[in-house]
């Protein structure tokens, strides 16, 4: 290739030879230029594809990495028994009941103390309360209900700042745009600066992102419930699709006679692998929900639908793994008197197992990211509570991402990206596991 690129030293040759060679040479030049162009197109195509990948990842990481930290406002709260339990009843039921606003009063009191607000200045108090998440009072209430011994003490409590304050601290709401277009007003900025000076405002690791459920307030929203829902679904998929897939493939690969019926199954499996996933969602809706009356939004139904979508992948991988086991193994087994069934289950299947597991993990990873069929069976519910069984309404990681993606607030965009990072991390872990398994157990025959 290198000598082709450099032109021939035609000038040193004399007379007729020059003309002859240069004729060929002109053609060669053109042809080699075309060759270089063609090669360049190829390189360009590969580069473009990799650039797309890089753009995708960097855009999501750039939008999402900030969500792993969250702005907290820590204040000393006076757990005043006269406010919390005016009638002296400190049972959790009494704390969860009664006038809900008394906890707002507690917060207001500690805010007034922290920001040194004049108790009669109501406007300043409300400006200060604007900074705190609207979920603060319920948070305080359940905190006290869980541990009634707090009553009567003074304790430092970390409150969530609102999503807008959080965005401001992280710099995604900038102070230099006109106040009228800004979600954080000048009066708030003054208060924020005051809090920062006192050390009450800080960025902490966002544990709520991993433990909380759905919420309309971005600062209180998390993927914890969705993760549990996805976990339940993956368990259902694993329990159903691994045995079904392996059993089906063993029959097709080892026992099935070559006839029309098995041909039909074969063509069928290849086509099922290419059916749009949303069609599986329609099937799930019509059969599992409308016909069998299974509960809507339950992770059991999600798992069933995802089992059907993953089954072709697992069958194709398992059959490839079984095919890779050399016939000599089978012949040896049969030769020493084992039945066909014994040969398959005692010798062929164990040897094919690494391949089967790799295929299963890749199938599961695919199922974990599947979204469209879950929307069909109603797994985009607003779920705050952790599901305790697969029959409870739940949501899944990808559907949680879908629901957040359509929220306009900057704080939600950040969380969506963070949820995507979590999802991609899971996928990466699963695929790496598959690769490690393959490397560790791969046998060349």
């Amino acid at each position: 290739m290198t000598e082709a690129a450099s032109p021939l030293p035609s000038s040193r040759l004399g007379g007729t030879e020059v003309r002859k060679i240069s004729k060929v040479d002109i053609g060669l030049k053109r042809r080699y230029a075309a060759e270089r162009r063609f090669r360049l197109y190829g390189l360009l195509a590969v580069t473009i594809a990799i650039c797309f990948l890089a753009a995708l990842f960097s855009s999501i990481v750039a939008k999402g990495y900030t969500a792993f930290q969250q702005t907290r406002i820590s204040m000393i709260v006076d757990f005043n028994p006269a406010v919390i339990a005016p009638d002296g009843d400190r049972s959790p039921a009494a704390i969860m009941g009664g006038n809900a606003f008394r906890f707002d009063d507690l917060i207001a009191a500690s805010l007034q103390k922290t920001l040194e607000i004049d108790p009669n200045d109501e406007d300043a108090l409300y400006d200060g309360l604007d900074l705190l998440s609207k979920g603060s009072a319920p948070m305080l209430r359940s905190m006290i209900a869980k541990d009634p011994s707090l009553i009567g003490t003074k304790r430092n409590v970390d409150f969530y700042a609102t999503g807008d304050v959080d965005s401001f601290i992280k710099g995604s709401i900038r102070a230099d745009i006109p106040e009228s277009q800004r979600l954080i007003k000048d009066k708030h900025i003054v208060l924020i600066e005051k809090l920062e000076k006192e050390g009450a405002l800080r960025l902490a690791f966002n544990t709520g992102l991993f433990t909380n459920g759905a919420s309309t307030r971005p600062e209180m929203a998390g993927v914890g419930v969705a993760l549990v829902g996805s976990l339940y679904m993956m368990m259902v998929v694993l329990v159903l699709s691994l045995p079904l897939g392996v059993a089906g493939s063993i029959y097709l690969e080892e026992f099935a006679p070559k006839n029309r019926w098995t041909d039909l199954i074969e063509v069928n499996i290849n086509n099922l692998a290419a059916v749009p996933s949303i069609v599986y969602g329609l099937l799930g809706l019509a059969v599992f929900i409308n016909f069998a009356h299974l509960p809507r939004s339950a992770s059991l139904v999600g798992g069933l639908v995802l089992t059907l979508t993953t089954l072709p992948t697992i069958i194709i991988a398992t059959r490839a793994a079984l095919k890779a086991v050399p016939p000599s193994i089978r012949e040896a087994g049969l030769g020493v008197g084992a039945s066909k069934m014994q040969t398959v289950f005692h010798h062929v299947l164990p040897l094919a197992m690494p391949g089967v597991l790799t295929g299963t993990i890749i199938g599961l990873a695919h199922a974990l990211g599947e979204t469209a069929p879950l929307l069909m069976i109603g797994m985009k519910a607003f779920v705050v509570e952790y599901p305790t069984t697969p029959f409870d309404p739940s949501t899944a990681l990808p559907t949680q991402i879908y629901m957040w993606a359509t929220e306009p607030e900057r704080a939600f965009t950040e969380r969506t990206s963070a949820a995507i990072i979590v999802l991609l991390a899971f996928l990466l872990a699963m695929n790496s596991l598959a690769i490690i398994l393959r490397r560790a157990f791969e046998r060349r025959w």
């Binding site: 082709a4 042809r31 075309a34 060759e35 063609f38 090669r39 197109y41 190829g42 390189l43 360009l44 195509a45 590969v46 473009i48 594809a49 990799i50 797309f52 990948l53 753009a55 995708l56 999501i60 079904l244 059993a247 089906g248 063993i250 029959y251 026992f255 199954i265 069928n268 290849n270 086509n271 099922l272 290419a274 059916v275 749009p276 996933s277 949303i278 069609v279 329609l282 099937l283 809706l285 019509a286 059969v287 059907l308 089954l311 039945s339 069934m341 990211g369 979204t371 469209a372 929307l375 069909m376 990808p398 991402i401 879908y402 993606a405 965009t413 999802l423 991609l424 996928l427 695929n431």
Partner: protein, 485 residues
Amino acid sequence: MGPLWLLALIAGLSFFGFVLGRWKSVVLSGKGRGTLAARPGYYGAYVLIWTAMPALLILVALSIAKPFLVDHTVRANLPEQVLSNASQLSLEISGVQQVAAGLKLATPEELENIRIGVVAARSVFARHGLPLGADVKPYQLIAAGALNLVSDGLDTAVDAAVVAALAFGLIFAFVRVKPRLRARNLVENTVLALLIAASSVAILTTVGIVLSLLFQALQFFSMVSPANFYLGTVWDPRFAAAGSTESGQFGFLPLFWGTLYISFFAMVVAVPVGLFSAVYMAEYATSRVRSIAKPLIEILAGIPTIVYGFFALTTVGPLIRDYIAMPLGLGTSGNNVLTAGLVMGIMIIPYVSSLSDDIITAVPRSLRDGSLALGATRSETMRQVILPAALPGVVGAVLLAVSRAIGETMIVVLAAGVAARASLNPFEEMTTITVKIVNQLTGDLEFTSPQTLVAFALGITLFVITLGLNVLALTIVRKYREQYE
């Protein structure tokens, strides 16, 4: 007993049967009554199968039959004028089911009071934590009573049948365990039957898809004629208001146009990039470059489509709107055909490239070597020898990619928009078949209204289109492979 208890009982007794059968075979052979015809474990499994199988079959069959029998009983006990009102029938039946659930909660004393009419059933149920929407009508009480009677009776029958089957199977198989019994044959035949059943799940899925979609779609086509659906140019389904007879317009063509237009842009991105990368990987790249670049490109196929959708919505869409559409004055929306097509194209690159790579490397080496030996450069060999030879396979790969683009959902749901219109301007919002399936099926579902059922008509159309493309593509690829084998 609930089904879970029954299952636990079956599992426990089967295990017991296994131990018993194995033990008997060992003991008998130890007493010198002849050598065993199979290993002891098979005798255990023999008893296990005889214990579990009949009981499980009975349990499954009766559990499937129960809802139909109960439904039949309820209908038989409802008065004529209720039955004749077909549209309200399902509501009435669920009402009866609620009353039946309430009757189970009430104490015998309260039941007596309800029967003689001293207290209203509704207030009794409310006291037990079951608020009803309306007062209980007398015929509902009668039907609910019959329902409870039949359903309790069935439950008892199931329990009795399962226990009888368990006992019979266990004893029968245990008695038959003798050293000369060929236990392995039965065990292996049962396993084979299970394997066959597992392999036909794939067929069942296809049948399920076709039947469920077809059934609902036919219901839709009884309300909206297929001609109006497939040839309609206006998509305006209206809202499914309760009791409204207004059906709106369900024109398929604008959705189809949006789908095709977006897929076209996806192909414009994916085919050149995918094909050229495949060529580069197969022909020019050193093995080191290939070992890095190939997995990187394949990562694109492993990323969930919701991630692409979000990328399109938050990054690509605004970029195209601010830097291309707005300056040209062609559109003001971040949701547009170009965004969806571009991002979908990125997603499809690896499908095109890895399939084309396989196909290019499958072209016999002799063709390539022959061309190179004649003095052709590598690019000339590729363009004039290998690609023409691989063309059918590449076409198959592209068709598979098109089918994937048509069925893709999440990218278009987030990035293409919801307005059904047929226009040539790629900076406008358009919508696709899949988007409308999602739109029509979120929120309250009413399986009698065309607004919900249209999703199934769209679904079966989508299924037929993609299936046709897949079958065509697979046939082409298979023919092509045979050509060189």
